[in-house]
Subunit: 258 residues, 2 copies
DNA sequence: CAGTGGTCTAGACCACTCA
DNA sequence: GAGTGGTCTAGACCACTGG
């Protein structure tokens, strides 16, 4: 929409939106670098930086001697959408909702303490919510925070919306996050909330979020009802995939008694 | 190990291997750009390109005014590892194995035809194998190819190893691939082969591979036993994630009768 | 305030694709 | 052979971090 500050961002934004507006569809050649240089009154540097961005997003492919072409037109996911279910819903055009089950302050059990780099028994704040998509049960969310972060959650109405927004407004520095994706059967809690039988396959996303200095700020476990969510990603020959498949390690329980 | 042709590749390879050798651990600052320029007798361009590569791999983070620092040290996944289970095993230090169930040539059912951009009923080659990890059942693999590609599979002993290798050697141009990840319960076939009850949660990876011109070469459905595999990825604020979570669409059946 | 990485320019040469 | 993107150089200015 509005012009980005940096030239390379402006160029990237233009190309991205042109692709999403179907101005270019998969297989189509993009304008050449020299054309883009002229159109944006820029040198090659910013143009190539914009192309590199789209390439890592999986939107385009390029190579010596041939025009860069459109690969795919999946929407790009912002960092906010990665961290926040509410934000993801909004970006995807759905209405997020939540039904808080419990908000607790208590000692960290060993697996959680390890995940948050705390000593076992250190105080943590845990949130257990059912999340809704357009009003229907979609996901069971278990969030855990060290106390210094969690204090901002304790003083928050967790039925009123995005905890992530709350944390940002409270000045918590959320800088990067690691997601681990696997499948797991619904336990009794999951089953009750999602209204499915125990053992129903769920897509589990465990997330650890960190500050810029590497201190953990969150450890979470989200379980999606089948049919609600899936993940997609495009890999291109010669560009190593940032998504790594790893042989599973021992499960990290992010709620007690598992 | 051996010097890469391009300076930026050489620099990236050096940094990557230094991180994996634990010479730098998460939180550590990397050498400054100017140091790297001297060490590799290079200008800033190649150094910055190498940094950008590592950044998209999720290995480092950087920002104005501060040194680039190590984020994580997950192994990077090559394109071969994305496409080929055998290759993934080798990279991960496991012994791949397979027990072919069926190799068939027959007409494409509608969903498969759509996935391969063929007309319904067009001839396709399908492979149905149990894959092993260090000798134990790990994954059920369903591969489907258009006939022109699949002919190279029909004349191949599918118990002898990697079909992917075979296709490459046959000159098939596999240029990029899209993966969709979700969870699904084991069907009767899955259950029999993996020796688990029907309905056991499995991690499903559906893959579509394409030539450089966008023609489909493969449509597959891999289902991993829980505990065998999971996916991880690091996202950083300001860098949009290439992994997109999408609301699920109708299931594409990649084997008949589903 | 010195040093860092982010951005940008203006040029150059090369490997490659495609008509 | 004209045009393309990939690589590289040598400079410049700026925003920001940290001691």
């Amino acid at each position: 929409m509005t012009a980005a500050r940096q030239q390379h961002e402006e160029i990237a934004a233009y190309l991205r939106s042109a692709i999403h507006r179907k101005e270019f569809v998969p297989g189509d050649p993009l304008p050449s670098e020299s054309e883009l240089c002229e159109r944006f009154t820029s040198s090659r540097g910013p143009v190539r930086q914009a192309m590199a961005t789209l390439r890592t997003e999986g939107l385009i492919t390029s190579g010596r001697g041939r025009r860069s072409t459109v690969l795919d037109d999946v929407p790009t996911q912002s960092f906010d959408g990665v961290i926040s279910y509410s934000e993801w819903c909004r970006q995807s055009g759905f209405e997020p909702g939540q039904a808080t089950q419990t908000v607790t302050r208590g000692p960290a059990w060993p697996a959680l303490a390890a995940s948050l780099d705390l000593d076992a028994g250190a105080p943590v704040v845990s949130v257990f919510r059912l999340r809704l998509l357009d009003g229907a049960p979609a996901m069971v969310e278990r969030l855990n925070y060290p106390l210094d972060v969690g204090q901002h959650v304790l003083s928050f109405d967790t039925d009123s919306g995005s905890i992530y927004q709350r944390l940002i407004e409270s000045g918590v520095d959320i800088h990067h996050a690691t997601r681990t994706i696997d499948a797991i059967g619904a336990d009794q809690d999951d089953a009750d909330l999602l209204q499915v039988p125990v053992g129903t396959p769920l897509l589990r996303v465990r997330r650890r979020a960190f500050t810029r200095t590497g201190a953990p700020v969150e450890a979470s476990d989200d379980r999606y009802l089948p049919g609600t969510a899936s993940f997609t990603l495009t890999a291109t020959r010669g560009n190593p995939s940032p998504l790594t498949m790893v042989s599973a390690r021992e499960p990290e329980a992010l709620h007690p008694g598992a």
